[in-house]
Point group: C2
Chain length 179, copies 2
Amino acid sequence: MAWHTRSSRTVYANRWISVREDEVTGPAGDGVYGVVTMRHPAVFVVAMDARARICLIRLERYTTGGGLEVPAGGTDGEDPLVAAKRELREETGFTASEWTLLGTMNALNGVAIAPEHVYLARGLLRTQDGARARLEEGISDVVWVPFAEAVAMVADGRVTDGETIAALAYAGIHLERFR
Amino acid sequence: MAWHTRSSRTVYANRWISVREDEVTGPAGDGVYGVVTMRHPAVFVVAMDARARICLIRLERYTTGGGLEVPAGGTDGEDPLVAAKRELREETGFTASEWTLLGTMNALNGVAIAPEHVYLARGLLRTQDGARARLEEGISDVVWVPFAEAVAMVADGRVTDGETIAALAYAGIHLERFR
């Protein structure tokens, strides 16, 4: 084992994250390590309609400002698939009949424990749900773009959310567009 | 503007991250927001050799355990390209004559300000550098796999690092393997 924890104390916690500082002995010797732990895993949804368009939402992040992202959110302790269905409905107004778990990844692993599940959702059906949730999440727009256009938006910097880029990669592999 | 900051206090800081708790008024009303800020941007390198193989390193993360990742690290305040060259040399022993900035993304933007630059490195040349750095970073192996194999490793869960997956997506787009 490359790492040994000599002590650990929680330095901050809120509803969504906790932060601890550990005294560690690692490959480079003794030091401190600040670890950010997400209280719950997150879910990311690539929702694809019958015309092979995918859904992106435009929202204002408190951290990084405005951007286009796939529908996503915390699981709040729910089963990840239940959370993915809820987030898609709240953030876009759509339900889906076909769900595929594409993979589970970790973000920012130099400092964080942040597991993230990526789903592909197809068989979409529009509902009237979510208008209030979209308002409360600061979502200003829901757009549908051809998959190839979403990929082009990564290339030219219109999409910069790391998790959205990774989710598109998972979907691209599954759809045999990325090899 | 969707967010207004009413107060802000630093609750934790070390050499690599700072954490603040802000009182905010956002789209859903008043609340607190914990924000993790990386002190410096990070860099990720997709290094491709003349046989179209890419480099993955195996290392033990204190946060998430063992895994395969592209060479990466913090910029420590350096120019990102300088940092990318240093990380590649330290983590793999290779230098590269051709560097392409593929894009800049943000990780974990629900809670973090974590900018990340992704490079493609080609024209590789092996050196004897980095053996000590690899030891200190807990790198146990440096492997070269065909690009398509790295993509397959994402699909079947052998690669789970979110930034590595996004970096492969950027490289795949640039190399016209992802569309």
